[in-house]
Amino acid sequence: MCKCDPYADRPAVYNPAVTTPVVEIEKLSRRFGTFTAVDSLTLVANAGEVFGLLGSNGAGKSTTIKMLTTLLPPSSGEARVGGFSITTQPVEVRRAIGYVPQAVSVDGSLTGYENLLIFAKLYDIPRSEQQARIREQLTFVDLTADAGRLVGQYSGGMVRRLEIAQATLHRPRVLFLDEPTVGLDPIARDAVWKHLIDLRDQYGTTLFLTTHYLEDAENHCDRIAIMHMGKLAALGTLKELETSLGTGSHTLDEVFVHYAGATLDSGGNFRAVSAERTTEQRLG
């Protein structure tokens, strides 16, 4: 266990002019039989950035996140996360990242405190520091008063905040989030975003997330990548993407339709849709 300062290499304040690559994806592909879910994806996310991966259902966003979090081996290509290879150094990658899946990933039959305690132990946080770290996390996500309650009694927003606290207990360099605000009402969404941005500002954590809420990407992401049918269709800041459409003012909606297409049924599968609706139901 490294006793060094976990924040030493992170920017105190995000500065777009200073770019240190922390997620480097090089020709990453994933095939399922004859279907290519992710097709030779190449992009870089920088330290301290809020990086949004957009796309319609089945565009390959979740498959990309699963490969970057070492849940799914790539068919070809490579990616380095926090400086480690996802194919040859998966354990080092796991120590460097946190992950909030789309589905509810905390246990409803345990208290908020217990959910954090188990992960503090799994991530080798020294015993002498565990209690202080858990208290810090609970304070950070405003759940101190509810730490002793069963998570099954939490609201959707509280569950998401606890998941963020759980996924960042070990102070990861990169936090991957798959549809972090799905199923939340506008107030809960704002609260989740406030904590995510605080996480970036206080700890220099890079946020790499998927979303299909365009306003989330518009309001909070420093850079946006749009995926379409497994491929990278566009990449840049919101301003860059808008100006890429040519003269006149354009909205992100127009940019999205331009790059991801406006067809009604572009992809996804039954399991993905079912999982998303179940998550919405559980959190909503």
Partner: protein, 264 residues
């Protein structure tokens, strides 16, 4: 050199117990599961056991039939509880809990063994129920500390073995509906092709061969010789432990290979 070997081993054991603790903490908040589980061994011992003991159809040597069947029912309830453990694993997959575990740096073998171990500790409640009923029915129990320790270890190991087997099935079938079907299909043959409720001597030759390949037979044999006074082991306690241990180790390694598939 030794350090590089010992550190991962300590970490593995530590993580295994963390996973087991995670499962056991859930029990502290909800005891209903333990109470409902107590019903099945009670039915088998009080109804099936009593009726067959009266019929005199089973020839169990100089051991009364109720004494003979008590360890068998303990093994059976361990099997029945453990074999459906995979349902929890599928539930955790449908949530995002499996993914969260898999993204942590925890060794896969520790995740699988920890889950199995927690099932083992959970099934100890079955042992308490069967001991209580056996006492009530006048079964001649062996109360020596060594015998009790053996029962404790065998119950935990057997539940670890069968719950890991269950986890492997869950990794293959992936849905609750399919799991229920496969679980039902496997449980009864494992139970009936063992020495749990009748001696293997009365089995036809082909069934006898199968029963000797069935780990439940060795679990029952170990429990019978430990739980009862004056009941010699058929295979020897050493052989029973060897079969249970080796099968568990093999299953844990297979489970650790398959478990990551649930994260996809």
């Amino acid at each position: 050199m030794t350090g590089t070997f010992i550190h991962p081993l300590i970490s593995f054991v530590d993580k295994t117990f963390v996973i087991a603790e995670f499962e056991l903490r859930k029990l502290r908040h909800d005891f209903t599961e333990l109470i409902t589980r107590a019903l099945q061994p009670a039915l088998w011992l009080l109804i099936f056991g009593q009726v067959f003991a009266r019929s005199g159809m089973m020839h169990t040597g100089n051991i009364p039939y109720l004494d003979f069947i008590a360890p068998g029912i303990l093994a059976q309830s361990v099997l029945f509880v453990a074999i459906f453990y995979g349902i929890n694993v599928i539930w955790e997959r449908d949530l995002g809990i499996v993914q969260k575990f898999l993204v942590s740096p925890t060794p896969r073998t520790a995740l699988v063994l920890g889950k199995g171990l927690s099932a083992g500790i959970r099934t100890l409640s079955q042992a308490i129920v069967v001991y209580g009923l056996s006492l009530f029915l006048g079964v001649r129990l062996n109360w020596s500390p060594l015998a009790l320790l053996n029962v404790f270890v065998v119950v935990v190991l057997a539940a670890t073995l069968f719950s890991t087997f269950s986890l492997i099935i869950a990794c293959i079938v992936k849905t609750r509906e399919r799991f229920m079907g496969v679980g039902q299909v496997l449980t009864m043959p494992l139970f009936f092709a063992s020495n749990a409720i009748y001696p293997t001597d009365i089995m036809p030759a082909w069934l006898k061969v199968i029963s000797h390949l069935n780990p439940l037979t060795y679990v029952v044999d170990a429990l019978r010789t430990s739980m009862l006074s004056g009941s010699p082991s058929t295979f020897g306690l050493g052989m029973d432990y060897a079969v249970i241990f080796l099968t568990t180790i093999v299953l844990v390694f297979i489970g650790a290979r398959l478990y990551p598939q649930l994260g996809v």
